[in-house]
Symmetry: C2
């Protein structure tokens, strides 16, 4: 039986606040620094590793974090979640995204079905469909193969799948897994859909409409936009569209779609990349085998997250270091810095995953909490960011914890050797250099050239970004965020904060406004 | 004569900290809210307007901001800058980016030339070159027209020009100004260059190598990468490349380039979109007339920034409200939320512009300051962000000031009417609704559904995103950031914080490391 208690009621949290702080410029210097980098590393799934040598922690603080993890019953809460308890208390729902990639505990029966079987069944349906599209068994009306898949969705139906597609596009091209180009339409801005439609050959495109409820304003609007375009091109829209939706949605049994694949209420949009939401577009783009490997990578990370020992549970360790940075050290933001151009949109996905999950001010019982919760998340790929916002990270007045990600090898295996090093070596040299520059700083008599150091970072290292490592990477962050929500005693699985804007936007469109809203509407010509 | 004094020595700043705070849920309610939205608006250049009704200010606070602007001598400092004083004291350089788009004060003579004439001359050279490329007077070796332009640059040579290109791509297509597609290679990650090269027809591509010093690691590496590819395709690289560099750089007179266009030390990378750095790629992509209009829009905003009256100087007002939020109200971040898919990378550009300029801890004399300077900047286009990180913005434990941008009309003029409104109306309805939701909130007995409100925002409104409004928008933020730097008494025009990482990366590549850096290098296989 687990206790859901606020973090500031836990004695381990109190102890953590009193633990002696670590000065990185001291501990990371010389041989001690080398020792830390060798030792402060945890194996992740799919061969990745999480190195936290440059975090402001030592064995004493990690022990305190372990105590907090234990008192907050983090692995028990995780077990409650994957065994099918109603952990999303706000919406009274189970939380089952991990079940899309493996059976972690008991069978979970909901809505009268075994949910693992349900998810696997949808995966199989998608795999079968994708294979038929690739083989030419399913074609357009003229009997020609589809060459492009276009996802229509927003938020979790867009950011995650898009980030995953971009992460694997070059890998798939290099390894003969590239089946179809994917594009994404998300914004209700009509120029988004129009620009995507102008860039593709609609006659050879298959559209994936993704909406759990079948009522998302942006998605339905963009669906109509696309149907209009198909009609104008003399095409039958129902032969070019599939739906990913819940079984109870109006889209589920509509004849407007070639096929429908299902999701359910137990997987939030931002956690849905491993469900049908990511499954349809990724299986069409890269083949179902690639999607299966991606799930395998995620499953390996989910298994690790069960470990009671914080030193063997990278997601839990990362989560608790983040809590320490947020609540004890008082840092308001975290930046995600993948040294991999393929991960260009991964920070945007994590921005949603983290900020939508843990940007809450009330605990899971609806009572205000007295401590900070989720931080602001932002990031861009390195080395690009180095030439952009790193100035503030190095010398600004606020400290921003950094999450680096690096791979020993690139994806396309094309490279050049200039001044005795390859581009990939230069890329990796830069991330190593940045970690040390941030941690250790460098004294200079000219204060303008002085680097105070003590700016904490961790790095996730892998051999190469591929479906398995990507799955592990994604699940690591999903699980980290889950654990942080448990520590903060908040519900990471609802998003009530998005409702008010929707209600007011409807009023504006119905011209039922007064006061400030009426004048803003006028100014914007609505 | 201007006085460069720290903000906390100014009596107007002290008075500002004591001014009565504004409760937005109170002042934005009912008719008073409507009155604020009507009145609290300042005309910007190119027909834009800056509306600050939903900021936590009232007439008393704006008066206090006006006093601070006066005591900090903001317009005098701006005049000193555009009249050619050495305002970048760290690097002992003039700061002349505004001069690329107009003569704001005295002639500025440096390096023995009239700098305005120098910038105009480069613009004319670029215009002539671009026209010859478009007309087919300059072609590839086979006598065929170039169809694609690829910018090779990083940081300021990438983010600004890329954001501007994306902002105008659809507009240009719609209005018959689209001459050539543009692509960008920036990251030293070899997969970046390889993927771009795979996506284009190199035989019909012209590459713009952008490096002021001619020594930027990433850019030179990517140049070699591209030259390799051209060679492998049997092409003469020197017939496919132009350089944008300083007159003293090794690239300036090299026969490796079809042509060279010049920049100088008086324009920092992040302020260089209106110099040759943006000029070459944008003139090739859209024609020099479009680039000229973009400069015109920026110039109109630069003129407005001269105004001593804060209520008629939108950049100065925006700057001071930002200072108030950062230093008096204590907000650590600001988010930029354009309701326009075309501005998808505009927040990334502002992220560099702001964080690299004002992420400093020492004043312009190299002495530590005792107050917060530049905030963390992040953002994504609306309505996408609504389905992502807005949860935290509405209900998180930190308040994040919001900068909305909205346009009455879209660019492609294709739209659909669904449920009695167009997509463009839905887009605008959403931004209006969000402003009011953030400011006013909504009481609910269920704390999980409660919106506290009091979350400040401003909005910049325009008729349409086009070259002129884009220029005004860019210059607004450049000038805002400049004014904030003046208030904080920091040098917004250097970037010493990027040096240490470069030095250490070189050591890694030369295998001259020990301690932590040596072990990180091993872990990353360097």
């Amino acid at each position: 039986m687990v206790n859901w208690s606020n973090m500031d009621t836990l004695s381990a949290y109190d102890a953590l606040t009193k633990a002696k702080k670590v000065d990185l410029t001291e501990v990371m210097a010389g041989e001690n620094g080398a020792k830390r980098v060798k030792e402060m590393s945890v194996a992740m799934g799919a061969g990745l590793s999480y190195n936290y040598a440059s975090k402001q922690v030592d064995e004493t603080i990690v022990d305190a974090l372990a105590d907090l993890a234990k008192e907050a019953q983090l692995t028990d809460k995780y077990a409650a979640l994957y065994n099918g308890e109603v952990v999303n208390t706000g919406e009274k729902r189970l939380v089952l995204h991990q079940l899309t990639r493996g059976q972690l505990g008991n069978d979970v029966i909901a809505d009268g079905v075994n949910k693992r079987e349900f998810y696997v069944n949808e995966q199989n349906k998608i795999a079968e469909f994708a294979k038929k599209v690739h083989s030419g068994e399913i074609t357009n009306a003229a009997g020609e193969k589809f060459t492009t898949v276009v996802q229509i969705g927003i938020g979790g139906s867009d950011l995650g799948p898009r980030a995953m597609y971009l992460a694997l596009e070059n890998w798939a091209k290099k390894n003969n897994h590239f089946k179809m180009e994917a594009k994404f339409i998300s914004n209700v801005d009509p120029d988004d859909a129009a620009a995507v439609l102008n860039s593709i050959d609609v006659a050879h495109s298959i559209f994936v409409l993704v909406s759990k409820s079948g009522t998302t304003l942006e998605t339905l609007t963009n669906e109509s936009f696309v149907k209009d375009a198909l009609k104008k091109a003399g095409l039958d829209a129902s032969k070019h569209m599939i739906a990913v939706t819940s079984q109870t949605s109006p889209l589920a049994k509509s004849s407007d779609y070639l096929a429908a694949f299902f999701m359910d209420d137990y997987i939030g949009g931002r956690f849905s990349s491993t469900s049908s939401v990511g499954g349809a577009v990724l299986s069409l783009a890269f083949g179902p085998e690639v999607f299966a490997e991606f799930l395998e990578g995620a499953a390996s990370e989910d298994e690790l997250a069960k470990n009671d020992d914080i030193r063997k549970n990278p997601a839990m360790l990362d989560a608790l270091i983040g809590v320490y940075e947020r609540n004890v050290l008082g840092y308001p933001c975290t930046t995600v810095l993948p040294y991999s151009q393929a991960l260009s949109r991964f920070p945007a996905h994590l921005q949603q995953l983290d900020m939508e999950s843990n940007g809450k001010s009330v605990n899971r019982f609806g009572e205000p909490v007295n401590y900070k919760t989720g931080p602001v998340i932002f990031g861009e790929p390195g080395t690009n960011g180095q030439h952009s916002f790193y100035q503030l990270l190095h010398q600004g007045t606020d400290i921003v914890p950094l999450q680096f990600i690096g791979f020993k090898n690139n994806q396309l295996e094309t490279d050049v050797n200039i001044q005795d090093s390859t581009s990939q070596q230069k890329l990796c040299a830069n991330v190593a250099a940045q970690i040390v520059a941030f941690a250790c700083g460098k004294k200079d008599d000219n204060a303008n050239k002085n680097f105070a150091g003590n700016r904490p970072s961790s790095i996730i290292i892998g051999d190469q970004l591929n479906p398995k490592t990507l799955g592990a990477l994604l699940a690591h962050f999903e699980n980290k965020i889950m654990f942080q929500g448990f520590v903060w005693n908040i519900n990471s699985f609802d998003q009530e904060g998005v409702q008010l804007g929707k209600v007011l936007a409807k009023k504006v469109l119905a011209h039922e406004t007064d006061g400030a809203l009426a004048v803003y509407s006028q100014l914007l010509n609505i």
